[in-house]
Structures are given as structure tokens and as C-alpha cells.
Symmetry: C2
Subunit: 198 residues, 2 copies
């Protein structure tokens, strides 16, 4: 048996998404063999993140500062607000560098099945941001799921009284998507949202 | 962009075997969201291992103590010594709980191609252990690769002057098979049918 410390490390790693018990063991061996190059940096990075971890009280992003690096960035267009379900969605959109504005993380989606109600999401906080003014457009970037769309419709109603343009991500064919490989739901969406050409 | 601390953590995780950039990002998000349940324990486990990490001067195992938990275990049969190429192989055999003796880690295999010579491996240390006496059997548990078998033959010659039984894992192992990847059943077969060398 490996020592309790090594067992604990293997366990902690095996609980990460994408790492099972076997790959966790390989990762631990890698860390043990590459103490300077792998174990040291990973330890230091975890400590730095753990010590500075903060949830942005403005947008709900998880970062090492509050306000987060996005809310604090003066080059970001504060007039445009993109509402997402989860921090992971914020990161995905941010990586794409396609959205120059700021974000708002709901912390989930409305779900009758899972008992998630409006008061469980960061909706009051969103309304408060709009009341503060300075926002021209709210992009509802919910997932293209039933619950995501239900959430988007609910949000649109909640904020319709504000003088902001409310938009949502277009639904349709993914780039490179071939018709005969797409599911019917996507096809239906694409057909329903068809636009005039030229 | 995520903060530099979070970027550094993503980078450190993405260098682990089995985790690419995408799964590293998912792992980081998981850690950030589960601070108490995931980030804390992983940090603590890494710190404990990093602070106590040691290479066993007796057998070459990597552990949090020297002598390692296997060499220090009085229930282990010191008369039986299993020689493996890498620490990963020791762990694989140890997990199987099929071998009640102790181990010796060579730290690699002879390889003309990679310029690995006998003096690059922990062979003198093995010979010294045999000179100390008390060992009845040496099990050569090299990988079933050309280099592994070359190493086994070389070792058998180096230690044939000692009054020990020299055996090797039975060749039910698939050609090219590496111990670390084998299921326990195959390992059990191979160990059970180990044969004398020469
Ligand atoms: Zn923020
Ligand atoms: Zn040892």
C-alpha cells in the first residue's frame, strides 16, 4: 500500500471530472517523479488560488479578485451585459473573445424538476444592476435546452420594463454542421428562425 | 481572461498525464466551485505529499517515508525480492496484493537506443542487498518488452553467483504489454506461473 498521504492525493485527484482512479494514480506518479517541474508548480498554483479565491459580488464570476478581472477591466463595455447560467459559460464566451461587454452569472437555470426557483438564482442582483443604469443591451445567453429557454423567457419578462435592448443567442445550424447529421430539434429551430437572404 | 493565478492552475493541471487543456479547465472550474469539498482536500494532500516526499534508499520506492511503508512493514517477507523497472510497476504489483515480499526498483531498463547502461540503473544497490544476505528468491518482474527482457537476462547473469532462486514472471503477458496497464487477473497468472531463470 502507498502511504496515507499518497492515497489521499490519489483520492483527491480521482474526484476531479475527467480523472478516474487509474488516471489519478498515473497523475500522482507523474507528480512524485517530477517534483520540481510538476508537483511544486501545482502546489503553488493551488495555494495561490485557494488563498485569493473570490466570487465577484458584481457578476458572480469566480476569480482571485472581487470585483473580478472582467468587471474591473476598463476596456470592457459596461453598456453590454451577457447573462449566462454558469461560470463555465462565462469562461467559454470569454475565451472566444467575441463578446466585449460584461457578464452576469445566474448560478443555474429554472427547473421545476430540480426545484430551482427564481429566488434561487442571481436574478434580483441582475435587476439591481439594471436599476443602477448604464446598461443598453442584455444578451440572454442561456443554453439551448428547455430549461435554459424557460429561464430566458422568464428573465425577458422580469427586465422588460428597463430601457434596454434584450437579445438572445441565435439558434440554428452549428458552423460546419451537416443537415443529415443534426438532431431534429436543431433542424426545427433553424427552420423556424429562417431569415430572408440578401 | 481568467486571473493569472487561475491560468497558472489550469496550466499546471493540463500538464498531468490524462488531462488536456479542456479537461484541465473543467477540473479548475470544479475546484473553484467546490472549494471546501475539492480544492481544500487537494491542496492539503499535495502539501502533505510534497513535504514528506522521499525516495526509499533501500528499494527505490517513492513514498512519504524512508524506509518506505513496504520496506518498513514487518509482515512483508524479506526473503523474497521482486525487481521492477519503475515505481509504477511496484505500485501495480502492490495493489494486486499478490506478492507478499519486498521490492527493488531499477529506475528504468537497459536500452541501447536510449543509451541506458547498467550503471544508470539501481543494479549495484540490488547486488548490495543480496550481499547483505537474507534473500531466498529474486523475482525479475520486467516488462514483456525486448528491453525489459534484455534487462532481466542481464540481471540474471549479474546475480547468478548468489544462493538465491531467480525467477521471472510467466510469459502469459501480451507482447509489448506494460505491467502498469495490465488487469489483476493477468498479473495473478503471471506471478503464479513464475519460472526459474536459466
Ligand atoms: Zn465580475
Ligand atoms: Zn522501500
Amino acid at each position: 500500500m502507498a502511504s496515507p498521504e499518497i492515497e489521499a492525493l490519489t483520492q483527491a485527484l480521482s474526484r476531479l471530472p475527467g480523472l478516474g482512479p487509474r488516471s489519478a494514480r498515473r497523475a500522482v506518479l507523474h507528480l512524485l517523479k517530477k517534483r520540481e517541474a510538476a508537483l511544486g508548480p501545482l502546489r503553488a498554483a493551488l495555494e495561490a488560488v485557494d488563498e485569493r479565491l473570490a466570487t465577484c459580488r458584481t457578476c458572480g464570476n469566480v476569480d482571485t479578485a472581487d470585483p473580478c478581472s472582467i468587471c474591473a477591466d476598463p476596456r470592457r463595455d459596461a453598456r453590454s451585459l451577457c447573462v449566462v447560467e454558469e461560470v463555465a459559460d462565462l469562461w467559454a464566451l470569454d475565451r472566444s473573445r467575441l463578446f466585449p461587454g460584461r457578464f452576469h452569472v445566474l448560478g443555474g437555470r429554472l427547473s421545476a424538476l430540480e426545484g430551482v426557483r427564481p429566488e434561487d438564482l442571481s436574478i434580483d442582483r441582475l435587476v439591481a444592476r439594471l436599476e443602477d443604469g448604464g446598461v443598453d443591451e442584455v444578451v440572454l445567453a442561456m443554453n439551448a435546452t428547455l430549461e435554459g429557454q424557460t429561464t430566458a423567457h422568464y428573465l425577458a419578462e422580469r427586465i422588460e420594463r428597463f430601457p434596454v435592448r434584450i437579445t438572445q443567442l441565435a439558434h440554428g445550424l452549428p458552423v460546419g454542421g451537416e443537415l443529415d447529421y443534426l438532431d431534429e430539434g436543431t433542424l426545427a429551430q433553424a427552420l423556424r428562425a429562417r431569415r430572408p437572404v440578401g
